[in-house]
């Protein structure tokens, strides 16, 4: 690890100089400023609105040069945002709450997924249609999501000891192969993969059973909120415009995604189906009335309540609507 030290030090030195310069120099709204935007997973139509924003120049028109950084299985969003290498990250209220409880200075400045995408997927011959159906079943899930299952059970009075948890990762194979009866996954992810492969599945959305946790939330540090407001507003404004376009034509967003990332091995049919499935999670009467990304004191209160059940106590202060207000105002 030692032999690359000089170049890294230079890199960091450079980053620090840029950061300091940014603090000292007076800021003009239209200077092209480079920022990193940390996504929570590999490139896919999950971030379709952001690709539209970049493709149509919604950010560059506002003087912001946004680099979209893909995530991955070993790429947590929180470290680059804490370190300041990324201005904004895509997280979820539960992950953000956990990080804040560990001392991270985060605020949630926007909510892309109004309804949480977590779902229980099962096969039609042995379906899980309600939380009570989970009793006596084997559920495959990533261990990291254990608190999600615990919260679902406690909200719906299901004894979690009656459910057998089998650790699985990334893939729907254990369900198809019969190793488990159901999977805890995103409704827009594994069920879509199964449908494309010709496997019919039943999806029960956790959000329909009391699990109120904002997902695909935009997080930034308190420091950025105080000192880099213009950039945050410009970035969120581009996001809002991009996602409005997405809402108008999800299929076009899917096509753009496949076109922009030819090396990601994306399949157009899968992307189109996923694009369509995430629309009802992201757009609601609330976003219709107030605009994309919006949240109210009521939705925040519901989140605070669920997060307490998840053993991640937070106050409503975690959410900061001031950026969205400037964007929509």
């Amino acid at each position: 690890m030692t032999f690359r030290t000089p170049s890294r030090r230079l890199f960091l030195g450079g980053a620090l100089t840029t950061a300091t310069a940014g603090l000292i120099l007076p800021r003009r709204a239209l200077a092209q400023e480079a920022v990193n935007f940390q996504l929570s997973w590999l490139h896919s139509v999950q971030f379709g609105g952001s690709y539209i924003a970049q493709n149509k120049g919604y950010w560059s028109d506002a003087g912001l040069e946004v680099a979209l950084q893909p995530g991955g299985p070993n790429a947590p969003v929180e470290p680059p945002v804490v370190a300041g290498t990324a201005l904004v990250g895509i997280s979820a209220a539960d992950y953000t709450a956990a990080a804040v409880n560990q001392g991270a200075p985060f605020k949630i400045i926007g909510v892309a997924m109004q309804k949480n995408p977590f779902a229980i997927a099962s096969l039609a011959e042995n379906p899980v249609n309600s939380p009570a159906d989970l009793v006596g079943k084997k559920i495959g899930m990533a261990l990291a999501n254990m608190p999600v299952l615990e919260a679902l059970c406690s909200i719906n009075d299901v004894d979690i000891a009656e459910i057998e948890v089998v650790p699985t990762q990334y893939d729907p194979a254990p369900l198809v192969q019969g190793q488990v009866d159901c999977l805890l996954c995103w409704a827009t992810d594994l069920p879509v993969a199964m449908e494309i492969q010709g496997v019919e599945s039943v999806t029960m959305l956790l959000a329909d059973h009391g699990y109120a946790v904002h997902s695909q939330t935009y997080i930034a540090t308190e420091d950025s909120l105080a000192n880099r407001r213009d950039q945050l507003v410009a970035l969120m404004k581009g996001e809002v415009m991009g996602w409005q376009d997405y809402h108008a034509d999800p299929a076009a967003a899917a096509a753009l995604t496949v076109e922009m990332f030819p090396d990601s091995g994306l399949d157009l049919a899968t992307q189109e189906l996923q694009a369509e499935r995430q629309v009802p999670l992201m757009f609601s009467d609330l976003t219709e009335a107030e605009g994309f990304g919006w949240f109210t004191d009521e939705t925040v209160a519901a989140n605070v309540e669920t997060l307490a059940l998840l053993d991640k106590p937070v106050s409503a202060d975690l959410w900061d609507r001031s950026i969205l207000e400037e964007v929509h105002g």
């Binding site: 950084q69 790429a75 470290p79 804490v82 650790p167 254990p174 192969q177 993969a193 990601s264």
Partner: protein, 524 residues
Amino acid sequence: MSGALALRGARLPGGGLIGSVLAVAVWEIVARLTAQSFFIAAPSAILLHMTEHAGLLWRALGVTLWAAFRGFVWGNLAGVLMALLVVLLPRGERLISTLALLVFCLPLVATGPILRVLYGPGDGPQVTLAALAVYYTTFLPVLVGLRAAPQGWFDLVRSYGRGRMVALREVRLPAALPYLVAGLQIAAPAAFLGAMVGEFTGAERGLGVLTVRALRALDLPATWSIAVITSAVSVLAFAAVGWAGRRLDLAPPQVLLAAPGQARRSAWQGPGEALLALGVTLALWKGTMELFALPRFFAKRPEDVWAYMVSGPGAEAHRAKLFAAMGETLAFAAPGYLAGLALGAGLAVALTLAPRAAAFTMPVAIALRSIPIVATAPLIVWALGRGAAGTIAVVAVMIFFPTLVACLHGLARTPRAVLDLFEVYAAGRWRRMLGAQLPAMLPAFFASARMAIPAAILAVTTAEWLATGRGVGALMATVASTSDYGMLWSAIALIGLAAVLAHGAVVALERVVLARTNAEQLAR
């Protein structure tokens, strides 16, 4: 030298062609019969996928290969330099090997985010992780090689009034070359795998990115295509290094006479060296994080771990949780470690006794090592279950390959003169194996036993994360996703400590055995 013959590997004998065709036919039939359960992709489906996505796969291969190549170069360079340093400064051996071991033990859940923050976008983390995956398995064999010279030669150098540098250039380096080849052969698949796993830290493109995508999409032909490509690349790289090694016209192995090692260690030397290693480790740990100004939120310092585990609030609960998980992990790591070592050394002996078997054994062995464990683990788990058998098998698979390669090279270092002697007395294969070849293999075997310690830990934690959901591996995966970095770094510290202790035990055993059979290894 039958050992060297076995290493020649991939060349198929005449009857092999029919066998291969038959194997592919059986594969195709089994795959088609079990298509509904999504386990195995048929060869025809793999071929179709490869032709349809040729452009994508070539580009991804190029990206991953380039990162792997640079990691291979840097990592091996580091390994060789460390081995040279140890030989030139024998007093620093304990310190350097401890640090090398500890860095090798760092898990991806901790290094991934740190490297990504340090490098920013680009393939820096991939190159670094590929380098980290290889330096240790080069360092150990090369160190053995640098010492594999007859005492008389060093005496000769000294009698001419020349110093260490001349001895290094004229005696040690030539002796180390065959061992370097072994290290490089082990490194070739490891670097490729390291680069692929490095892409899990947030990459735009590459075979690792495609693997994650294919697994998630239940796209079996894609998953298997990538597995076939990675295996092919690794087998080719392995064979190329072996070929280059033979072209170097290596000196034939010598009869290594050395006086039996005399223990001249004073009573305080052991604890003193241990304390020094601990101090330097802690200083480097803290110093590196401070130097790069890594936020305390995810880069915990030694004192943070101390507070978390000992002096801070909730320390008792933290300790109980971590120790319970560690107990579960060790219960699987130990049998897997022994099984993998026995399998590797046993296979090396078998292939030396029956070299023809190498033609089909080596490619399978290389393939098992080169396909990312996230892709192979589901198959192993499916075959052996999520319990002890599956976990132990994953561990054994991960460590038997380096052991096999190192032991094969060790067996091949049996001096010609010794073999001739056995020939003269018309000794049988087994007699020759027991009396001549096994003793020659011992230094390489112990080097593999050392290499296998961190490898076993990494394998068992991976299996726990992917399949069993128990032990430290599952704990680290869970706490990393909930930003509980205090627990993560405590787990890393405990794993490092366990690895150092296990390493100490192997070294102690090694001293006792090699003092009788290979005293040149202990001469300083």
